[in-house]
Symmetry: C2
Subunit: 437 residues, 2 copies
């Protein structure tokens, strides 16, 4: 049973109230946020008011469904009316959101209680989650390690039990990577399925609203509120019989322990190894598209107030400005070719799967990591297995697959658009296991 | 009455035969092509065979419509089965087309007789029409002047009376510019309306198949064969009441004589001046998109065999490679903004209009031109008024508006997609006039 379902039942049988849940969340945040750096802003007053309203409604017979009265956190890239909207950057140190983003409106309409905003890597531009105007988000499993990013604050908040679910964004893995590193579930729906109005852009053809939850089922319940006609909300016919396991490739470094745990987590299923297709072209395409679009988003700020950026983010943006237009054009073509290849795989397989991230959480600030005896860049290692699904827009879900020592590992499931039901069916069957580090 | 209609009637009343028309075309080509440089390849045998077949069909009661038995030329960027397909470049000196382009298949299905291929600026990358592996296309009105480009050979062939119509392509004005400079009609349909299979690309999001004809009606008859459900083929209700005349802008240099002739050509209509909107953004967007896409088309050739390019084309490609990816991304946004602005104008006006080209034909090889006392680059001056309609994909037609001295001038009409009928209605009412140079 999911955390939301447990709480929803307790609310309805009078075992708790939304006010109690909210105060408990606020107390946990007060207790732990100093060391975790999960929340950017806590809206104590607004949350308590919303919780009381939720309680009033429930006692008057108005029931908005499973999220009614449930505390939820929202990444600082997503506008929440009246709250500071810094996007993790000094550029927006004094900015306040004028209205709720469309996805926040939907959460409120479903009765959710918005607790506050969570720390994002500056402008969402980094999978490490440790470069933000608010400071780094830390991994609840080991505080000297990164929570991952860019939705690091949302992942830390959920993993530490402050809230059962949180909204994130996902441009290259920004919801799934921190979910995997923090031992929770992270979900990126089909491209375009959840509206992005009021969500600060990074690379618009790759940007998704994502959900981080204690379990996959928690993510599914949030998606029901964000995109009611989403296939994850339906029970469609047919079981998941065939899973294609994406083979290791030079572009996707995976440690042996991560490979073993994630592969074993699907032991119940009929799993066949499949190649990535043209991996070089796919990763180059992701990089060219992300760079060009991210710099188009930030060019004026880089020109006018470069000193307000975090130095590493500024360096990345400056490199991003050097991507050539013709590379972008070729990347759009490579994207179509890769989409055709993966669509072909989905004729043979119900789902594809891989580790979510090939390593466990690196240390805060760490930028090189040893994988299988070679030194790798942390950033590309974190992104390697998640970013293809932003390039192609297919839905992807990261589910906890166990631990290596005390650090969590996630397994990623990918499905064709409009068959998200399969992800959540298989997520229920995942068997986590552990090994010593 | 159009040239095609005159010939079609003569064919049907037995006054001529397709064989006669073809032999007459071949004779004119033999006579004039040496000095004009209009045709790249003349397919004497194939044309005579096709003409006889057309005659046989007509005498057996098979009538394929107005193009039946009519000689047509095809730009050397468009594949004609079995003929050399050089694309105006030494890169393809030995290349032969394996099959007909889709548009050529449709011409043949309509009974047209393909006479041969016409000279294109190398790879279609230049509005001057004077840099081709086959040598420059010359203007029939004055041989030391350019025919314009890139469909210069098609324009010269039609203007010299070798064929009544010819296919061209149009990425920034490549059909309309040479039509205007050579005193014929040139038409670019809505983006995507005519299939481009078998047409060598330049910048795929700007590329169109175009038609050059002795009159606008000739273009319309060809479009009926190329895109049978095209609105130019229908008589839709309502007359054209309101024409918006696009005002002079710094980006659109127009000589006073051209301005006067073209404006006067619409004297019958209710014409109101309208601004271009955000002209800088629009021209920058065209340039960023064309550069990025053109280099993406040719990057491998530039890397592997740069020496095979014409030096000027190679220089342009090398500059094109320097356009940044983020400029391309911003150009795509500017394109949408400009499209919204022009769509707004079409709520107030049935058609928009402007000169096709602000000057008359420059000399072959000329690269600077004086317009209103300032020196301007020939290339951007030629493209200024036509390329916005490639950026936005709206249909645009150039119609002869008269002469300055012996050099022709064209007026351009632009309509909303799916209302091409309006272009051809108004084209019939254009009143050409002349001034001394």
């Amino acid at each position: 049973m999911s955390e939301i379902e447990v709480l929803a039942e307790a609310l309805r049988i009078g075992k708790t109230t939304a006010d109690t849940l909210t105060r408990r969340a606020l107390a946990r945040i007060a207790d732990q946020n100093g060391e975790l750096g999960a929340f950017a802003v806590v809206d104590r007053e607004g949350a308590v008011r919303a919780a009381r309203h939720a309680d009033d409604e429930l006692s008057n017979g108005i029931d908005r469904g499973p999220l009614h009265g449930i505390p939820v956190a929202v990444k600082d890239l997503i506008d929440v009316e009246g709250l500071p909207a810094t996007r993790g950057s000094a550029h927006f140190a004094d900015h306040q959101a004028a209205e709720d983003a469309a996805c926040v409106q939907r959460l409120r309409a479903a009765g959710a209680v918005i607790i506050g905003t969570t720390v994002t890597h500056e402008f969402g531009y980094g999978p490490t989650g440790d470069r933000s105007w608010h400071g780094p988000a830390r991994n609840p499993h080991e505080l000297r390690r990164m929570a991952g990013g860019s939705s690091g604050g949302s992942a830390a908040a959920v993993a530490a039990g402050m809230v059962p679910v949180a909204l994130g964004t996902d441009t290259g893995g920004s919801a799934r990577i921190p979910a995997a590193l923090c031992g929770i579930a992270g979900y990126k729906p089909s491209f375009g399925r959840v509206p992005r109005d009021g969500v600060f852009p990074l690379a618009p053809s790759l940007d998704h609203v994502g959900v981080l939850g204690a379990t996959a089922r928690d993510c599914q319940l949030v998606i029901q509120a964000l995109a009611p006609r989403h296939s994850a909300c339906q029970s469609l016919a047919g079981s998941v019989a065939r899973i294609g396991w994406l083979e290791a490739a030079p572009q996707t470094p995976v440690s042996p322990a991560v490979a073993e745990l994630t592969r074993n987590s699907l032991a119940e299923h009929d799993v066949t190894e499949v190649p990535w297709g043209a991996p070089d072209a796919m990763w180059e395409a992701f990089s060219a598209i992300q760079s060009s679009e991210a710099f188009a988003t930030h060019a004026d700020r880089v020109r006018d107030r470069p000193e307000l950026f975090d130095a590493e983010v500024l360096d990345r943006l400056r490199s991003a400005s050097e991507t050539a237009g013709w590379h972008y054009v070729r990347a759009l073509r490579a994207r179509e070719e890769a989409r055709a290849y993966m669509s072909g795989l989905f004729e043979r397989f119900d789902l594809l799967a891989s580790p979510t991230v090939g390593i466990t959480a690196p240390l805060l600030g760490q930028r090189e990591v040893d994988v299988n005896g070679s030194s790798r860049a942390v950033r590309s290692t974190l992104l390697a297995l998640t970013c293809p699904w932003n390039l192609l827009g297919f839905p992807a879900l990261s589910v906890p697959a166990g631990h290596i020592g005390r650090l969590p590992v996630g397994v990623q499931l990918i499905c064709p658009p409009d068959r998200e039901d399969r992800l959540f069916t298989v997520a229920d069957s995942i068997v986590p296991s552990s090994v010593n580090s």
